[in-house]
Structures are given as structure tokens and as C-alpha cells.
């Protein structure tokens, strides 16, 4: 059914709004909404890693949750292997969830403290009625070994493990059904830097072994660079730039991407000193009342009158390189933006 040309996951004009206010009767009469994700479209192909970056509150996690139907989208479509998720009935949705798993950011919150590691990792199998209890436990032991945990710790509780180990438990759980897509919601940002690399390498190895596609959400461009095939940048609920990682990192076109990349620290102190950074003024505006036109125009160093009025189109500016800016210009990252 899903031939090679059908992307594994296709997101079209995804929009997610949350009602705000908590006044009398839970604010159900207030009309204000937080526009967390606005008109986001992208595709993920089988076996690839799609990085999604942006600062806190830009809607990248909400995008992941909306795709998973943890918070169903307000509008827009999500197709998984060509099928519209919002039109699926309960049984189809459950089947879809076999093939799409989630890895959470906080390894301390994502494991039920009252269940043993064995129960946690085997839960997807139990839910989908796969295998006998013995078979499940064999599979759990196998996977614990794969993710680098001692299979004999199957009867321990999550609190007996460190953060990195717990994240490995979460990874084992997400892989036990051999899903086709895993949405990783900042899987390493709660971990120490030394552990981050280990977990990223583990994710890479597992991808090679099982051919799983990742939607990799992160706020750290260097982490995304390490793992992604293609990268999309989000700002205030909008996708501003999408490209394969090489051209995004070498030639960012959107001024927001440029400023983000200029903020990535370089380990060489001489280079770091001589580099000119693009420092954005102020905080991101509130998503309750987003700026008109281009949402970035309030902080954009090259904004002009048109930017406040016209929403820039998310247009293709190079092969597979999309950018939502009226005045996008390629910007070789080694040089300074300020002198332009």
C-alpha cells in the first residue's frame, strides 16, 4: 500500500491552538487562543532522521504531540504511510501506534515509578497482545542488552537507575515493537553532556540496525547536527527554514537560522573570540498575540515594511531547501552578518 514514493509521515498545514485563560468555569467563554503551531508542513521518509529545532515555546514539542494525536491538531492533516490519522478509528489508531513511538525528554517523569523495568519495557507488547509473558521477558532482556543495560536488572524499579540509564530504558521501550517512526522529544537535553553523546550514538546504532525513522526534536543545533539528515527550524509556531543539514549549516538563508547558528559555541577560543554573533534583541513575542505578517519581524535585523504586513511564503529557494522569508539571502556561516 505504501510504495516507495509515499513518505512515511506527511504533515500538511498542521495547526494547534490551545484555549487560554483560567477564569470562571475554566475560561471556556474566552475566545483567546495560544497559537502554538501554525501551518506547519513537512515530510519524513522511511529511515531518515528529521531534526526539528527552535527555542523553548516555539511549538516543536507540540508538533510532535499533535502528530502522535496525544493532543489532536486543531486543523491540518497528518498522514502516516499515506493514511490520514484524524480519520482513523480507534482500532486503526492503535495499529498506527505500533509503528509510531515516542521518546520523552524527562527520563525521570516518563517511566511509571510503580512498575519494574521489565513491566515498563514490555508494556507496548502487552498492550498490543504480542507474545506470551515468557516471550515478552526474553525480548525485554534482549533489548536491555542492546541498549546497554544489564538484562538482569529486569525486576528493578526506575528510581534505582541514573538519568542516562532511565533514558535507555525509555529507548528500549520505544524500540520493542520495532516501529517505523520514533518521535524523540528532546531525548538528551535532560542528560549530562557526556551521557548525551552516548545516548545519541545509541540512537544512531539502533537506527542502522532497525531502519527506523526519527523525528528528532531539540533546541540544541549541535545535537541535531550530530544525528539529522534534514533539519527544520521553527520560530513561534511557524517553520522558517527546512533543508538537508549540510546546506542548512553551511548556508542558512533565514535570518533566524543565521542568528541561531552564530550562537553555537565553537570549542576553539580564538575562533570564538573573532566570531561576530548576531544577537537578537528582546524575547520571543507571546504566541497568544503573535506579530502580524512575518512572526519574526519584531526581532529581525533585516525586516522592512512589507514584513509586518505580508506573511512570507514557505518557498523553495534551492533543491530541497525551503525558507519563509521575503528577503532570504544565503549567508555563509563563517562570515559576519553585521557588516553586510
Amino acid at each position: 500500500m505504501a510504495d516507495n514514493n509515499t513518505p512515511l509521515l506527511k504533515v500538511e498545514h498542521l495547526t494547534k491552538e490551545f484555549p487560554t485563560g483560567s477564569g470562571f468555569l475554566g475560561g471556556r467563554f474566552s475566545k483567546k487562543v495560544v497559537s502554538a503551531v501554525n501551518d506547519v508542513s513537512f515530510e519524513i521518509r522511511a529511515g531518515e532522521t528529521f531534526g526539528l529545532v527552535g527555542e523553548s515555546g516555539c511549538g516543536k514539542s507540540t508538533t510532535g504531540r499533535a502528530i502522535m494525536h496525544l493532543d489532536p491538531p486543531t486543523s491540518g492533516k497528518v498522514y502516516f504511510e499515506g493514511k490520514d490519522i484524524s480519520k482513523m478509528n480507534k482500532a486503526e489508531l492503535k495499529d498506527m501506534r505500533r509503528d509510531m513511538q515516542f521518546i520523552f525528554q524527562d527520563p525521570y517523569a516518563s517511566l511509571n515509578p510503580r512498575m519494574t523495568i521489565g513491566e515498563i519495557v514490555s508494556e507496548p507488547m502487552v498492550i498490543h497482545g504480542i507474545g506470551t509473558p515468557e516471550e515478552r521477558m526474553d525480548r525485554v532482556r534482549e533489548l536491555l542488552d542492546v541498549v546497554g543495560l544489564n538484562p538482569e536488572h529486569i525486576n528493578r524499579y526506575p528510581h534505582e537507575f541514573s538519568g542516562g540509564q532511565r533514558q535507555r530504558v525509555g529507548i528500549a521501550r520505544s524500540f520493542i515493537l520495532r516501529p517505523k517512526l520514533i518521535i524523540c522529544d528532546e531525548p538528551v537535553s535532560a542528560l549530562d553532556v557526556s551521557i548525551q553523546a552516548q545516548v545519541l550514538n545509541l540512537l544512531k546504532d539502533l537506527q542502522q540496525q532497525y531502519g527506523t525513522a526519527y523525528l528528532f526534536i531539540a533546541h540544541d543545533l549541535s545535537v541535531v547536527q550530530h544525528i539529522s539528515d534534514r533539519v527544520a527550524v521553527m520560530y513561534l509556531g511557524k517553520m522558517v527554514e527546512l533543508s538537508d543539514w549540510k546546506s542548512l549549516y553551511a548556508e542558512p538563508n533565514h535570518p533566524y537560522t543565521q542568528s541561531l547558528l552564530s550562537a553555537v559555541p565553537v570549542p576553539d577560543p580564538d575562533v570564538q573570540k573573532s566570531r561576530k554573533r548576531i544577537i537578537l534583541a528582546g524575547d520571543p513575542p507571546s504566541p497568544i498575540d503573535p506579530p502580524s505578517g512575518c512572526r519574526f519581524h519584531t526581532r529581525c535585523p533585516i525586516a522592512q515594511g512589507r514584513c509586518a504586513e505580508e506573511v512570507p511564503e514557505f518557498r523553495e529557494i534551492g533543491a530541497g531547501h525551503f525558507c519563509a522569508c521575503h528577503y532570504a539571502t544565503p549567508f555563509p556561516i563563517k562570515e559576519s552578518y553585521i557588516d553586510l
Binding site: 475554566g26 504531540r65 501506534r97 515509578p113 508494556e123 524499579y157
Partner: protein
């Protein structure tokens, strides 16, 4: 100096041995939540004292009919001869807590009072917990308008001074032990509902519930495996402490003559009868007072111990 050094060495050796076991990967057999909690509870000395004390009181109260009347005398004796002869005797071997105005053995009455007080505590807490669990669960699961209605109702209940509310209710439905159950039980639900509601709400929003949902788990499974086990602990703790509170309320009611009807002995009525003789025969009031104090304290300490024991984040099991 020698002694503490030795014990320290002992501890270090024990810890090392434990670490060795862990390092060898020889794992403990499957342990259950309640099994682990009990292990932790056993290490809590105060809580263990509390359990032992509660067990003693319960055993004495339950078996009272078998031995108390013959050994200590009928708590409701009413023949005139003993009344006059034994009126307000000081504590002695025969009457360890002394006797009251009507010549009845105070220890015997305190023991029979325990039956009433414990029953009130447990039954009333049972009623409050049952109502509170249903209300709290409704408010948390359905949210929205249900949440608003139930929680505002709870606020209204909590806005009245509790004892006054119970007294008013007793005044309406009349006194007697059953009505004490009902009044204390019904009026106790709002705090339980609040505790349970907030426990469910915090668990409901947790990542592991989202994880279960993202795997496709059914609502029934999420409630049974994830939400309930993680929110029920707070109720166990709260209900345990609530038993002590209910005993206190019953005593207060009986003291005011609104609870248990004399001659049935409840700790509250005993204090009320004894207060007239506080200056001359203080044991009439002090003995039932100590009974209330120790029992309520025991339930509170047990609740405290349970709270620590049921917290899975506590180290070593």
C-alpha cells in the same frame, strides 16, 4: 571511642557486601509495591510502635466480651450494693484505673469505649473515603463543569467550622452511634476528594501516562496500571490519619452529650462524666484521655510512616 568506630566499620562492611551483590548482578526476586513499602515501614520505629499499639487496642477491644466482665467487672454494672461500696475508688490492683461514681471499673469502661471509638473512627473514615474517592475521581477525570461543581461544593462544606457542622447535623438527625457514623462520615469527604483529585490530576498529566497513551493503551489500562497505583498512596496515608481525627470528633461530640448515649461508654462520655471530679479523682478523666491521646497519636504516626514508606523515591528497599 572504640564502640562507635566498630559500628561504623560494621556499616561499611555491610554496605560493601551489598554493593558486591549488586555488582555481581545477582538480582533480587520480583518485589511488589506493597512488599517494598512494608519493608521500609518496618525500619520506621515510631510507625512500628504505632502499629503495635493499634493492634493491642484492637485485640483488646475485639476480645473484650470474653474476659473483661469477669476480670474487671461489668462496664455497665447497676446493682446498688456495688455502686455504693465501690464508688470512685482510687486505682488499685483490682481496679487499675479506679472506679467511677457508680462503682464501675474505669479500665473496663475504657476498653468498651475503645470498641465504640475505633468503630466510629474506621466506619466514619470508610464513609468519607468512599464518597471522597468517587467525588475526587469524577472531578479529576471528567474535569470541566463536573470539576467546578464538585470542588465548589467541597469548598462550601469546608467553609463551615467542621465540629459545628457535625453538631448541626446531629441536631437534625438525632444522636446515637449510627448517626455519629453518618454525620462524621458524610462531612469528612471534601478533604479526601481534594487530596485524591489533585493526586489524579498530577498523575494524569505525567509523561508516563502520555507514554502509555502514545502506545495505544486503553483508558481502563491507564487508570488501573498508571493512574490508580500512583495516586492511591496519598489516600491510604490521608485515611489513616483521618481515623484519628474521626475518633477525636466522636469524643468531642460525646463529651458534649451529642454522640454516644450513656450508659454506653465512649471515651468522650467517660471524660465528660469524669470532669466533675477532676480535682478529687482525676483518674476518671485522665485515663480515658490517655486512651484518646495514645490512639490518635498512633494513627497519626502510622500515617506519617506510611507516607514515607509509600514514597518510591525513598532509597533502599
Amino acid at each position: 571511642m572504640q564502640y562507635p568506630m566498630n559500628t561504623m566499620g560494621e556499616q561499611v562492611r555491610a554496605a560493601a557486601a551489598e554493593a558486591h551483590v549488586v555488582a555481581n548482578g545477582s538480582d533480587k526476586p520480583t518485589r511488589t509495591l506493597w512488599g517494598d513499602a512494608f519493608k521500609r515501614l518496618r525500619k520506621n520505629r515510631l510507625a512500628m510502635f504505632a502499629i503495635v499499639w493499634i493492634l493491642i487496642v484492637v485485640v483488646i477491644a475485639v476480645t473484650a466480651d470474653l474476659w473483661v466482665p469477669s476480670v474487671l467487672g461489668d462496664p455497665n454494672a447497676s446493682d446498688t450494693a456495688t455502686m455504693v461500696m465501690n464508688s470512685r475508688l482510687a486505682p488499685s490492683l483490682q481496679h487499675p484505673f479506679g472506679t467511677d461514681t457508680l462503682g464501675r471499673d474505669v479500665l473496663s469502661r475504657v476498653i468498651y469505649g475503645a470498641r465504640i471509638s475505633l468503630t466510629v473512627g474506621i466506619v466514619a473514615t470508610g464513609i468519607s473515603t468512599a464518597i471522597g474517592l468517587v467525588m475526587g475521581a469524577l472531578a479529576a477525570y471528567y474535569g470541566g463543569i463536573w470539576d467546578t461543581i464538585i470542588m465548589r461544593l467541597a469548598d462550601i462544606f469546608l467553609a463551615f467550622p467542621y465540629t459545628l457542622f457535625v453538631i448541626a447535623m446531629i441536631a437534625v438527625i438525632g444522636n446515637g452511634i449510627q448517626n455519629v457514623f453518618i454525620a462524621i462520615g458524610i462531612l469528612g469527604w471534601p478533604s479526601i476528594a481534594r487530596v485524591f483529585r489533585s493526586a489524579i490530576l498530577s498523575v494524569k498529566e505525567s509523561d508516563y501516562v502520555d507514554a502509555a497513551r502514545s502506545m495505544g493503551a486503553s483508558d481502563a489500562r491507564i487508570i488501573a496500571r498508571h493512574i490508580f497505583p500512583n495516586s492511591v498512596a496519598s489516600i491510604v496515608v490521608y485515611a489513616t490519619m483521618n481515623i484519628g481525627g474521626a475518633i477525636l470528633t466522636e469524643s468531642a461530640l460525646s463529651f458534649l452529650g451529642l454522640g454516644v448515649v450513656p450508659p454506653d461508654p465512649s471515651w468522650g462520655t467517660l471524660i465528660q462524666e469524669g470532669q466533675k471530679y477532676l480535682q478529687t479523682e482525676p483518674w476518671l478523666m485522665i485515663m480515658p484521655g490517655i486512651a484518646i491521646l495514645t490512639t490518635v497519636l498512633a494513627f497519626t504516626l502510622l500515617g506519617d510512616g506510611l507516607r514515607d514508606a509509600l514514597d518510591v523515591k525513598m532509597k533502599d528497599a
